[in-house]
Symmetry: C2
Subunit: 415 residues, 2 copies
């Protein structure tokens, strides 16, 4: 590990020890101070952001990405407000679950505690900086952030502001940003066993793949979603259409948007013609299996094998006709990324089988996959959506940024 | 991945899909059949074990390790009985937690589900084979086992027996053993992303270190314990002595045995002389800091810096004198492996601070660290003791072999 990263990791560990001693009330007070400081530094942050934006434009960044990178007073106000909202959430730290008295008199409870030091690697969205800092601080974790190099000046300005507020409490190292955006340093962070207790990558499939295959510290995979909607033969056509169009078109670039449509053979010749005009109106391109192409009147183009596994993140959808629920479940479990899948049906038994046998973080009956979101699930905040099975699965709120330890009260017990 | 491992992984995944459809009642029936088969194959298993034992003796294996490797009728009976006990435990699979109705009418619940395929890498104890198979089967997970080469014939005989029982239900691939004990294949297993949902190493520090630094699939670290007992100045000397001697000497080779003693300076000159005769009687060698050596009458030998971080797994203990609770917490958090630590005290505030600030899986007040065990905690079964913070921390029972998914009942909701 390079000296500077080692120094940051050590400082973060020391800060994490201090964080453990803070009450929820104190943490909330500090979060409000951080939010106020951020907003009062808006001008500086916008100035730094302009620097990033001019480089990005010179490098030919797409307008969509430029928009994600841009900060203005309104967005900074929203970032500050987001920090205050996190302060207002219930604090999971310190809660003791399942406290039981054993026959030998030992009182054993499972207590929610912070991880210690969390690393977060993300791409070019500077609002993630304040967001991640707030969620980690609220759960008494120190955080080391490694943002994309495209947003470096903006991130640095945001972090300086937050650390200014933290310094008043001698806690500035609770939040830090890696100043070196090289791949080598990112790799060192991924392998900083003993220094980093948990690493969360937030970004596209490429970033997540790199982190998962490189990291030796514990990682939570987030966010790649090849989500399916399965129109089962007993479905209400209008409900199915509403759900499919909603899941595909309302925000096609997000991970809970649907990418794949699966239709029962028994209804395909009536359901696809019912659906296609709505797809055409929304500008959705369809890539289908041979059976669906035959029914698609030239509007459904032939899909390659890979298309069924693809996260299009745009107005394209794959279409697969299946013989029934067995093939539907097999197809979905084979191609899915384990994010969110939905069945539209009016058949009780098939609904239950789908819920039971689909191996994904969120499985829906008769609702859009777009609901897979911390806010929609009622968590108040979200650090990402886990598509792995260890520790956290689905939308992750504050609780998922905590671990537990057993606390045991005895009076001299020996074994 | 080599062809044979790929074949096993694929077969295990198929079996895992079948396991999801079994009721608890059916799983228990099959577990009983497996136990019966194991016991009726005792002769064959003992024969295979004799082969392993003769090789082990020829290779000069230590008597202690020979004992761990040995099987006789009594031990096989105990293995079968262990499987029946697992059958009798409550099944966590299918339980729905925190089901809530959202304002939009969606009914969202968190359902306990299997991981899918679990890999377990372990050393030369053939009883782990039936034990791990039973715990994974009970939780509807398929399991791929990779045992030590020293126990290969024994493991193979145990697995053949279990698979014979499973075959009657067309489920033989729910449990399999890797027949090739090369390091290359072990490494392939550790990096079988998409095939292995969770990998658990069970064994010594060397094995666990190798797995953690090599694996790209999700891993739960188990079992290395440099456990501390801290005799705080207000402690009852007799209680402290009982706890220390119990934690150090009752089974020094296990991970919850104490390895390090921490003593407050204010009592060290009275407490150490009070304690030393009991250590001498038990044959415990003491390696201490300079202050403790000065008080040790030549019985405490000088410790090196590394000794404070060592898991001796035998009748040796390090001794550190500290100025008070601040230094004690700092020392323990620095050298501990995060397994189990205890304070012996009669000071309310210091007891609470110790519970709060010690960063370990199990933190005790006035009790022996030897209680960190699934059975002692009331879990009925244990797959290992996690010393990491992701997913599971401390003794892992059936619940820790499961993950969750969100199930959502809607009636046409779109966002």
């Amino acid at each position: 590990m390079n000296d500077r990263l080692l120094e940051q990791c050590t400082a973060a560990r020391e800060a994490s020890r201090k964080l453990i001693r803070l009450t929820s009330g104190k943490k909330n007070e500090i979060l409000y101070k951080m939010a106020d400081q951020l907003y009062s530094d808006a001008e500086k942050i916008i100035h730094a952001n302009a620097e990033d934006l001019s480089k990005a434009k010179a490098n030919g960044m797409s307008p969509h990405m430029i928009d994600r990178l841009s900060l203005d007073e309104k967005r900074i106000k929203a970032m500050a407000e987001g920090m205050r909202e996190v302060a207002n959430l219930e604090d999971p730290i310190g809660r003791v679950e399942q406290m039981t008295k054993r026959p030998n008199g030992l009182l054993i409870g499972k207590k929610r505690t912070p991880f210690g030091v969390i690393g977060i690697i993300y791409e070019a969205r500077p609002n993630v900086t304040s967001d991640a800092a707030a969620l980690c601080f609220k759960t008494s974790n120190a955080v080391i952030l490694r943002g994309g190099k495209e947003a470096f000046a903006s991130n640095m300005a945001v972090i300086s502001s937050l650390r200014k507020a933290l310094k008043e409490y001698d806690l500035e190292n609770a939040v830090s940003l890696i100043e070196d955006t090289s791949r080598e340093t990112a790799k060192e962070l991924m392998c900083a066993n003993g220094y980093i207790d948990l690493l969360i990558p937030r970004g596209g499939a490429g970033l997540i793949q790199t982190v998962v295959s490189t990291a030796t510290v514990p990682v939570i995979e987030t966010g790649v979603g090849n989500c399916h909607i399965y129109a089962e033969e007993s479905c209400d056509f209008e409900m199915a259409k509403q759900i499919i169009i909603n899941a595909k078109t309302t925000r096609p670039s997000v991970c809970n948007a649907a990418e794949s449509l699966v239709v029962d053979e028994a209804i395909a010749d009536r359901f696809l013609p019912y659906l296609i005009p709505a797809f055409q109106e929304a500008g959705v391109r369809l890539l289908g299996c041979s059976k669906s192409c035959a029914l698609g009147n030239g509007i459904i183009e032939p899909a390659s094998e890979e298309d069924f596994g693809r996260e299009f993140l745009g107005l394209t959808m794959s279409v697969k006709i299946v013989s029934g629920i067995d093939e539907a479940i097999e197809h979905i479990n084979h191609y899915s990324t384990g994010h969110s899948e939905a069945i539209v049906t009016n058949d009780y038994e098939k609904a239950q089988r789908f819920l039971e046998e689909i191996d994904s973080a969120a499985v829906y009956v008769n609702a859009s996959t777009r609901f897979t979101d911390g806010g929609e699930f009622g968590f108040g905040a979200e650090i990402g959506i886990s598509t792995q099975k260890l520790h956290a699965r689905g939308p992750m709120g504050l609780n998922e940024l905590t671990t537990t330890k057993y606390i045991i009260y005895g009076n001299g017990q020996i074994r």
